[in-house]
């Protein structure tokens, strides 16, 4: 049974379909990359899986459970975590406090006690922000903010991690660091939205190409790389940039 299965997913906004007839599946511990030009519907897809939007049609099954009608917080407790395209944290709190916020008990409160401090230390070490743990989140550099984003999602110990363009705006060194981090993540399925083809080819076990809300192509990196349609619309441009 796949970790996540999406069938016939569609999302309509007042007259236009952001997504239509989307099918995909993610296995446990597999990294699926979703690529496509701007406006193809990638973030909408993530919002649908994460729970911020409900689908107009279709179903989403996570570990055998239908989740498309569940609110965000329930999906988080089932084991889905996400990062946001524009880093989304608590700006007035320190990095440490932000991560503590991710460790909550039930839906009403935070967790307390020694276990929490240790867990926060672990995550800080994992993403590499130990030295900055008392800095206010708003004062972090762009790259550090992205690491915090990832740290927040990882603190939730997810089974499915949704990453929305995690390397956007990063320097080469920062991007490499993040890619290494992601590569080292185990024990979870990952859906990665990315613009940078290099990153995608490095990390993805499978790739799905979205175009105008539909799945244009799906398969392992080698296949996608060689697909002419995809090259024309997307890879061709990226190659020119690279």
């Amino acid at each position: 049974m796949a970790l996540l299965a999406v069938e016939g997913l569609a999302k309509r906004f007042d007259g236009f379909f952001a997504l239509r007839g989307v099918d995909l599946a993610v296995e446990e511990e597999e990294l699926l990359a979703v690529i496509g030009p701007n406006g193809a519907g990638k973030t909408t897809l993530l919002n649908l899986i994460g729970g911020e939007l409900s689908p107009t049609e279709g179903q989403i099954t996570f570990r055998g459970r239908r989740i498309e009608r569940l609110p965000v917080y329930k999906r988080v407790r089932l084991g889905i975590a996400r990062t946001f395209q524009i880093a989304n944290f608590f700006p007035a709190l320190s990095v440490n406090e932000n991560l503590r916020a991710a460790l909550r008990r039930g839906r009403l409160g935070l967790r307390w006690g020694r276990g929490v401090a240790e867990r926060v230390e672990e995550v800080l070490k994992l993403v590499g922000l130990e030295k900055k743990q008392d800095t206010k989140a708003a004062e972090l550099s762009h790259g550090e903010q992205r690491l915090l984003e990832l740290g927040l999602a990882l603190s939730l110990e997810p089974k499915l991690l949704l990453l929305d363009e995690p390397t956007a705006g990063l320097s080469l060194a920062e991007r490499e660091h993040l890619v290494e981090l992601i590569r080292g993540l185990g024990g979870m399925g990952i859906i990665l939205i990315e613009h940078d083809i290099g990153t995608v080819l490095e990390l993805a076990a499978r790739i799905i190409v979205l175009h105008r809300g539909r799945v244009l192509a799906a398969g392992p990196p080698a296949e996608i790389k060689g697909d002419e349609q995809v090259q024309g619309i997307y890879l061709g441009r990226s190659d020119a940039e690279a």
């Binding site: 994460g50 911020e52 965000v72 916020a101 009403l108 409160g109």
Partner: protein, 303 residues
């Protein structure tokens, strides 16, 4: 250092407040007792706005319903003061729970307008249901409390609620509320039940507003539909803003200062107070959005 000054001031204020009945006359005590009741209302408002981040222009509904429920309990059911209080608290809790369930699903602008509409609806309803509420004549009650005892009751209520609220906002639950205020989207995606937390805050605020309403009733011994109308709901917003939202002590301070100012101004310029408040609001929002408390923080951090 800051905590100690705060505690000293707080302790001093409390000592002063406790000794007041021994050198103040009944009218002054009455005024202070009223200020305390309104201060409690401001605390209820601050919990909802300053801590949970929800701006409601309709908390007057719970204040007024609390007052009316207690009044009706006293007048028609022959209840004693304590029983009427509990009746009123029960009614306001149920009301805020019920309304809150509907309201917390609505986004910020809609929420604000709905609470506004709610206040107007309740106000007009109270005006119309003369049989129940006495219409714009209102209801008079007599409560066997001397000004001195009434003052102490209100003071005790404020101290207890203030203490309780200060404790609450530091608990995991209180912190979760503030997370929801800071970034609801992020909080939801970290697994917090944003809707449930908001409902909790709304119900708590409604309950405390109702309590404030009952205390006001016992002090003023009179309730009228104006207490339900939206200008009454706007007052704690003004006091809280002036004192500093999200600080608990700020709203109390703001209420005290502004109501004393109103009392003073009304003796020689009856239009003065609203004009003062209007100008004050504009100045505060422009230059000191954190209120008085924020100013003192800034002053302290500069030294």
């Amino acid at each position: 250092m800051r905590v100690r000054i705060g505690r000293l001031l707080g302790g001093g204020a409390l000592a002063l407040a406790c000794s007041a009945p021994f050198y103040l006359g009944p009218f002054a005590l009455y005024l202070l007792a009223e200020i305390l009741a309104w201060g409690l209302f401001a605390l209820a408002f601050d919990l909802l706005y300053g801590y949970a981040g929800m701006l409601s222009l309709g908390q007057s509904v719970f204040f007024g319903v609390g007052a009316y429920a207690a009044a009706l309990g006293l007048l028609h059911s022959g209840l004693g003061g304590g029983a009427a209080l509990f009746l009123a608290l029960g009614v306001t809790t149920l009301l805020s729970l019920g309304l809150g369930t509907l309201l917390v699903r609505v986004r910020s602008h809609g929420f604000i307008v709905l609470t506004l509409a709610l206040a107007v609806i309740f106000y007009l309803a109270a005006l119309n249901l003369r049989g129940l509420t006495g219409g714009d004549d209102g209801l008079s009650v007599s409560v066997p409390l001397t000004p001195r005892w009434d003052y102490f009751v209100n003071l005790a209520a404020v101290v207890i609620v203030f203490g309780g609220a200060r404790w609450l906002v530091r608990t995991p639950l209180g912190l979760a509320l503030q997370l929801v205020r800071e970034n609801p989207r992020r909080a939801a995606s970290l697994g917090y039940g944003v809707g449930s937390l908001r409902l909790l805050a709304f119900t708590l605020s409604g309950l405390l507003s109702g309590l404030a309403g009952v205390l006001y009733l016992y002090t003023a011994q009179f309730v009228s539909p104006e207490l339900l109308d939206w200008p009454t709901a706007a007052n704690p917003l003004i006091w809280t803003l002036f004192g500093g939202a999200g600080t608990l002590s700020g709203p109390l301070l703001g209420t005290g200062i502004l109501l004393l100012a109103r009392e003073w101004l009304s003796s020689w310029w009856s239009y003065g107070y609203p004009i003062l408040v209007g100008i004050l609001i504009i100045l505060v929002v422009r230059f000191a959005p954190q209120g008085l408390w924020g100013l003192t923080k800034r002053w302290r951090s500069l030294r």
